[in-house]
């Protein structure tokens, strides 16, 4: 039955008795997991790419192409080789950074992605930062003052964060804060007037304009990023506060807290130094997860704000049936998502000896 170990698991245990060997072996296993997951992702995108109902050859050659031309094109594109060879060629191309050409922009997809990804990263980073600054203290307060009003506020926000459709909230935000109140700038990352005035050094318009000392550009960029960042931050706050609260509640119910209080430590010390100190690492992994969710959710928000990131690149490619761009973006977002997820897994296991 399940409680008994298989021969392989027993062998594993015997060989890795030494702690150093064990650590190396776990790292190798993690790397293997990463490689297999990436291969899975590549397989999925390859499969999707082959599954499209339109024959790419006919699309290129037109429907009146002669049989010879069709056959020649087939050989030229390597479509006559067995599927597994095509897959290996695909993997080799991807690993060399070749994601094909975009039908829409006529650029290599990888160049397009390099151009748009920083915008998404800037938005995700700012939103996660706000989420941490507001969400984590909120979660701690909600746990410490369990069942008081702030706990209810936190739970309400958590509920709202899992029930509000993000694209709708974004639209409502634009309607209220841009159209009616004029507190923020409209869609886009920056007004066309200021576009291109600042050199791209870090990829973040905010940082670049500060570094260049162009305060007008900075103010304009800020007024554009405020609304999307606030809305995405709301979801981060909801998620992070819920996780922090849950972690803290678990810690605060443990006996060492009672001991610490009995020993005369101030409440502040007990909460922040001891309880919070113990959840710091799981919290870091949760933060990385929250970041990856924001990256993934960008496909729904960027289109509303006309934010020129990978999300709107993907949705634009989707609407125009630009399969190379769609699959390339899927690969990049997927690879980032997978890496962050597996990294959090690994971090968790490294720092929590119980999980080994």
């Amino acid at each position: 039955m399940a409680a008994q170990l298989s021969a392989f698991q027993r062998l594993q245990r015997v060989l890795t008795r030494h702690a150093g060997v064990r650590r190396t072996w776990l790292f190798v296993r993690w790397l293997l997991m990463l490689a297999v997951t990436f291969t899975g992702l590549l397989g999925v995108t390859f499969f999707i790419g082959r599954k499209i109902p339109i024959d790419p050859l006919l699309a290129m050659l037109g429907e009146r192409a002669s049989v010879q031309a069709y056959a020649a094109a087939r050989v030229a594109l390597g479509l006559d080789k067995p599927l597994i060879v095509q897959f290996l060629i695909y993997v080799r191309d991807v690993l060399h950074g070749d994601l094909g050409m975009s039908l829409l922009t006529s650029n290599p997809v990888i160049d397009d992605i390099k151009r748009v990804f920083p915008a998404t990263l800037e938005l995700a980073t700012l939103s996660t930062f706000i989420g941490i600054v507001i969400g984590v203290p909120l979660g701690v307060a909600a746990a410490v003052r369990h069942n008081r009003w702030i706990d209810h506020v936190a739970r309400f926000i958590g509920l709202a964060g899992s029930s509000l459709p993000v694209f709708w909230l974004a639209l409502m935000g634009l309607l209220l804060f841009y159209a009616k109140l004029h507190w923020v700038s409209g869609p886009g990352r920056i007004d066309p007037l200021y576009d291109g005035l600042v050199d791209t050094r870090t990829g973040s318009l905010l940082l670049d304009s500060v570094l260049a000392g162009e305060w007008d550009v900075f103010r304009n960029a800020l007024s554009h990023i405020v609304l999307p960042a606030a809305i995405l931050a709301f979801y981060s706050i909801a998620y992070l506060s819920r996780m922090t609260r849950s972690f803290m509640l678990e810690q605060l119910s443990q006996e060492y807290i009672v001991t610490a209080r009995a020993m005369g430590l101030s409440e502040r010390r007990v909460i922040w130094r001891h309880a919070f100190g113990n959840i710091a690492v799981p919290l870091l992994t949760v933060i990385a997860l929250a970041y990856s969710y924001l990256l993934e959710g960008s496909v729904l928000t960027e289109i509303v704000f006309a934010w020129p990131g990978i999300g709107s690149y993907l949705t634009g490619a989707l609407l125009n049936a630009d399969m190379n761009a769609v699959l390339g973006s899927t690969l990049v977002i997927g690879a980032t998502f997978i890496t962050l997820n597996l990294l959090t897994d690994a971090l968790y296991r490294v720092f929590d000896p119980r999980a080994r």
């Binding site: 039955m1 399940a2 409680a3 008994q4 170990l5 298989s6 392989f8 698991q9 997991m33 297999v36 997951t37 899975g40 992702l41 999925v44 995108t45 999707i48 790419g49 599954k51 499209i52 109902p53 369990h146 509920l159 899992s162 029930s163 509000l164 459709p165 993000v166 694209f167 709708w168 639209l171 409502m172 634009l174 309607l175 159209a179 849950s246 509640l249 990856s292 990256l295 993934e296 959710g297 496909v299 729904l300 289109i303 509303v304 993907l314 949705t315 989707l318 609407l319 049936a321 399969m323 769609v326 699959l327 973006s329 899927t330 977002i333 997927g334 998502f337 997978i338 997820n341 597996l342």
Partner: protein, 304 residues
Amino acid sequence: MKQPRKEWHAWLLTDTPASRRQAALGLAYRRWRRFASNPLSVFGLATLMLLIVFAAIGPLLPLHDPLRQVLGDRLLPPGSPSHWFGTDQLGRDILARLVIGSRLTLSIAILVVVLVVPVGLLIGTTAGFCGGFVDTVLMRLTDIALAFPKIVLALAFAAALGPGVINAVIAISITAWPPYARLARAETLRLVQADFIHVARLQGASSMRILLRYIVPLCSSSVIVRATLDMAGIILTVAGLGFLGLGAQPPSPEWGFMVASGRGVLLDAWWVATIPGIAILLVSLAFNLLGDGLRDVFDPRQGG
């Protein structure tokens, strides 16, 4: 007539039930009392019941035709005499479209759950029960699927398979099953040590019988809670796909698509995009509240 009620009450809650039926009914009653003590959970349940009723009898109600365009009545605000929620830019009644759209939303969500839960259960219980190599392989597979980004992959699938309801269901299902496999496996590992499983084996029950008759039913409560909470997210994902034009196609009144089509007239006619969004919000909220309530009933250890 308080007497009969008190008698029922006592009969259901007795410590010494005389039959299995009495014990089962008593348990159900206790659970219901616990559930009903939380007004939010009851609100969630009531909202969902209302949704199901509207979805079921929607076409029979005396509403406007959701597909009929009356270009003379375009963009009427909510509160107009014959159009309570107003009309969209093609003159279609929004209330009617909401009600008919609820059928779409519900059916897609239910289809996904019906596909995903059995598959996840099967994989999880098999992994937990068999252990060893089978367990490792299945769990690695689950971990790999769990590490994929859901919305992005659903987008890519829908892009390849083409827009449409069935394709949207398939796309979402492909990435939605891993949590159930994990859950089922955890429950199975817990149960497989139990004495009654050993007894069943000694009595000669085959593995298949043990799995299906004992383990799967015992996993079901946590799976149901998880499925209800997941439904909220699935509704949002379906609406998101619809927003991008990948779900039900026009003129089908899918809620996400309605929000997208209201974008163009957002500044002049805010209600075209706002009202379907509120509907999505309410349904998702209802599932969340219901799921929280169920979790409190079935597994009070969690949450807090």
